[in-house]
């Protein structure tokens, strides 16, 4: 049970198919297409509907607009693909409350483990890469239930609802397990994520929120 290698990937099509290419990604089931995330340079971005798939990453960037009332699910989700120089859309991210093709779909984001683990892997969100605190405004400002980032595990099935609520992400207090048991062998773990911004939201200026994978090996 040596330390497994992990690879983050996303499906940049509206086709709900599994990542059959494992760590390499590429063409997946049902005409899906899986792209490996460059952890050093790429970024996950929740943006407004004005942003289009393939827009240059050096061009205009349209942030989510805080609603006058109620909550707003970020209309579109992208990966800022550094090497390709574009915002690459993740059409199946989020729910039907968003502005793309999200909903009761299973294969959106993946973490591929090339070997077993000693315990269940978790996906978490923290203020920064020191993992010392999860009090950023985007993570609920100290109230995990108010985190704007909400995720759901889809490793063993779709959410079951096109408007899934998800689990607010904030440190170890509020996180998602990516499977139901420790991994016995190499495996793709799947999840979906959305950002929901309430009308009362005030963002931080210098936010450096990170998504973090936590797992065990021996």
């Amino acid at each position: 049970m040596a330390k497994p290698n992990t690879t983050f990937l996303y499906n940049n099509t509206a086709n709900d198919g599994a990542n059959s290419g494992n760590a390499s990604g590429g063409a997946g089931d049902l005409s899906s297409n899986w792209v490996v995330i460059d952890l050093a340079n790429d970024k996950l971005m929740f943006l407004d509907s004005q942003q289009n798939d393939g827009d240059a990453r050096t061009g205009a960037k349209y942030p989510v607009i805080i609603p006058d009332s109620g909550d707003l699910e970020a209309p579109k989700t992208f990966v800022d693909d550094y090497s390709a120089g574009v915002f690459d859309q993740v059409p199946l991210a989020g729910t039907t409350a968003g502005g793309q093709n999200g909903g009761d779909t299973q294969y959106v984001f993946a973490v591929y483990f090339d070997g077993p683990t000693a315990g269940i892997p978790y996906l978490e969100a923290w203020d920064d890469n020191t993992h010392a605190a999860a009090n950023d405004a985007f993570l609920g400002a100290g109230t995990p239930a108010d985190s704007t980032l909400k995720a759901i595990t889809t490793t063993n099935g779709s959410p079951g609802a096109a408007t899934w609520a998800g689990t607010p992400l904030a440190g170890e207090t509020s996180r998602i397990s990516l499977d139901t048991a420790a991994l016995a062998a190499a495996k793709n773990l799947y999840f979906n994520i959305k950002q929901v911004v309430p009308s009362t939201f005030t963002p931080e200026e210098n936010s450096a929120v990170v998504l973090t994978l936590r797992y065990l090996y021996s």
């Binding site: 050093a40 990170v210 973090t212 797992y215 065990l216 090996y217």
Partner: protein, 147 residues
């Protein structure tokens, strides 16, 4: 995990001492901060009598008399980049007379001791990698100065 420097030659290593007098009488891991601990890949021929984890301060965490033993590293990988790093190490012993697990977590200058039900040690689910212990000896779960 912030890496403390130490000249103590066993620091950050795990030692399992086996029951009986036949060799090998013990197993010593590599430095678990920089290499795979090796625990998961080892197949021990005899049950473990005592499991020790050595700290750079010259102290050692000792588990003995347990029904089963386990050891693992807790790793974190950020989606924003940087290499995977070890956030904590865990030393575990399944108590002989109760379905509880003694768990020691060594992380960022802190050592936390806790007990969890066997089979629900990590997020309410089971951990893998248990190895048999030699029951019958006095139960021990403590930190002491290394000899």
């Amino acid at each position: 995990m912030h890496i403390a420097q130490s000249n103590y030659h066993l620091a950050w290593r795990l030692r399992a001492r086996f029951a009986g007098n036949r060799p090998p009488r013990e197993y010593i891991s590599r430095d678990v901060r920089h290499a795979d601990p090796g625990w998961g890949g080892e197949v021990f021929a005899r049950p473990i009598r005592r499991l020790e984890f050595f700290l750079p301060t010259g102290h050692v965490i000792v588990l003995a008399g347990m029904r089963r033993y386990n050891f693992f590293a807790e790793a974190v990988q950020n989606l924003s980049g940087g290499r995977t790093h070890v956030a904590a190490c865990w030393l575990c012993g399944h108590l002989p007379d109760r379905d509880l697990v003694e768990m020691w977590r060594i992380t960022k200058g802190k050592i936390i001791r806790q007990r969890k039900p066997f089979g629900r040690e990590w997020g309410g689910t089971a951990i893998r990698g248990w190895k048999a212990g030699a029951v019958g000896a006095a139960v021990e779960s403590r930190i002491r100065e290394a000899a």
